[in-house]
Subunit: 343 residues, 2 copies
DNA sequence: AAGCAAAATGTAAGCGCTTACATTCGACAC
DNA sequence: GTGTCGAATGTAAGCGCTTACATTTTGCTT
């Protein structure tokens, strides 16, 4: 024998009844306390507490058209690549009373689309997306719904979309420059799958450009595409080193792959960097505990997350696009990169 | 000059109008197509497509009381500890058409509570929580709302809550046994902060129990609590090694701390494991690329995530608690653990 | 003490959807 | 042709909330 009032989830009407006021007053109390008399406020708050009332989010969103929620769709949660940036993003949002919902798309375009729609249907006021590349229908949909959107982890001044990120190509060019400057001529590349991943593609083309500028044939590059995982880095490294001429440097699309690569290179009996140099990208914590520590591109993850949040909040509030922000990356030269061995 | 029909987000009424049917038919078409004539279905689907209609989630949840959504609140997204398990969890849910929402609580009880409430307000049908320890009000609230809940990453046969996990104490005892068996008598421990973290606490007490069983004084243990980060592992290791008598083994609360510890131990000029042994917990990918590879406790993360999902779905569907599942952990003895140096 | 504007509160209309119930339709038996 | 019945569709009532508007109360001024 359950009575409506004590078993079910309390509604605003229950609170109103208990406090002896109307539902409107309760609502005001919750949304803008300054609009109600302190004495009334007290009564309502007590009722809320006693009942353990939480406003039904769906109902609220239905009428208010504002959810104070933003969504982020990231390619993967499997490793720490996005962790730090997302963390900063969330912190900045939370400070403003906005909740972050995270969904992982597992590097699958279809799945990403599905996740975006899920977030939209849930009424996300804004969206954080990684990289530019996705179908035009999605962008059309976002625009039609007037959902504020920020692209991170990439930067393209020519895109109409607001982005807070860095130029992947430029960043990788700087690193590749450092590798080539040390005399390396045969370079193995372990990249993420470049189909539908503009960041991975930009990084690879950064390397190619450097080679071209140095007058080196692109055939000196051996590229393997694989998914982002330590294990994959190991396999790919083993594969690269089995070819002739053997590369003297292995450049990886991120630190995770590089960590695997270093491990495998050493397991095969080569020294790093005396025999083979290895580089990463991202400069996550992992880079520093590699043996030897990884030469990589430092990405200002926290700053990126923080500024992306501010840009997004601004867009939501003002209802119009904010300017894109280009962040600077930095070379971090550590022991995993050395001069090309003289053969 | 925007017309209602083309600029705004389409509603079920727009679809109904365009298809020349009632909203009820559209709804049926979406929720149970078999209830609708194929010809009608066709018309509706075409209208849906043309309008780019997506049902408003809030409205649907408001009336249907079912969201096909489950939430997971994890302590951190900063490292990969929960990544693999969560991945498997999500995969299993997705297979059944259920969406996963993830929130991070950053190891802060208050924040966790807030995140849980957020998920509840959003109508999550079920919840995945990590570890048992949290305030009783939360549990009361969950019960009152009838939200299916599964606790993972821990296992306690005496708890009324359904859990899918492993016995942290037992697992750590096995590892500590292996350490003690190799002659180590002075052991440094780097643990997560144990306040409001039952898993960390259980692991530490596992170590203590082994010492007690071996008749060794607990004072042989030097314990440092810190947050889960590679850097923290480094600092803690440096601190531990500065004491006399210097521990010959450092047992860490997880692989992330251990990775930092190994790095620091070697940086200080000690050899691992000849001078100092180091152990971890979790057996994430990181463990294998440490130098030397980490001796650790293997946790069946994917299996845990998968079975947690099944248990949760079952609970949601049947409306009653499912039996808890204890998963077995395994010792992974790798090179970071060696015999105690004879001094 | 009366009058009035401002502040506080109440009333009630929907937001977009599902679903119980009512209605219409068509196929079939007679 | 009529009657019957199940299938297909429509009608309309809310779900829990916010908010425009109406009403009451409060605190002043005169």
């Amino acid at each position: 024998m359950e009575t409506k009032s004590d078993s079910a989830v309390p509604t605003i009407a229950d609170v109103a009844r208990r406090a002896g006021v109307s539902t409107a007053t309760v609502s005001r109390c919750l949304n803008d306390p300054s609009k109600v008399q302190p004495a009334t406020r007290e009564k309502v708050q007590e009722a809320v507490r006693a009942l353990g009332y939480t406003p039904n989010f769906g109902a609220r969103a239905l009428v208010a058209k504002r959810t104070n929620t933003v969504g982020a769709v990231i390619p993967t949660m499997d490793n720490a690549i996005f962790a730090r940036g997302l963390q900063a993003f969330q912190e900045a949002l939370h400070e403003q009373g906005v909740t972050l919902l995270v969904a992982s798309a597992q590097y699958q375009p279809d799945f990403e689309e599905e996740q975006i729609r899920t977030l939209l249907a849930r009424g996300a006021d804004g969206l954080l997306l990684i990289g530019y590349e996705r179908g035009p229908e999605i962008y059309a949909e976002l625009q039609r719904r007037g959902v504020a959107t920020v692209v991170a982890w990439a930067f393209d001044p020519n895109s109409p979309l607001t982005s807070v990120g860095f130029d992947n190509r430029k960043a990788m060019k700087a690193l590749a420059g450092a590798v080539v400057a040390r005399g390396h001529r045969h370079i193995g590349v372990i990249s993420a799958v470049t189909a539908s991943n503009d960041r991975a593609r930009d990084r690879v083309s950064g390397i190619k450009e450097v080679l071209a500028e140095e007058g080196l044939p692109v055939s000196n590059l051996r590229i393997i595409e694989t998914n982002y995982a330590i294990e994959s880095g190991r396999y790919a490294a083993a594969e690269l080193l089995s070819h002739t001429p053997r590369p003297t440097a292995i450049m990886c699309g991120n630190d995770v792959l590089a960590a695997g690569a270093i491990r495998e290179v050493r397991r095969m009996g080569y020294r790093v960097p005396e025999d083979i140099s290895v580089t990463g990208f991202d400069d996550i914590e992992l880079a520093e505990i590699c043996e030897p520590p990884l030469t990589t591109v430092h990405v200002p993850h926290r700053q990126m997350g923080h500024r992306a949040a501010l840009a997004l909040l601004q867009m939501i509030r003002e209802g119009q696009a904010a300017p894109s922000i280009e962040l600077k990356t930095e070379l971090r030269v550590r022991d995993s990169l050395g001069p090309c061995p003289t053969s």
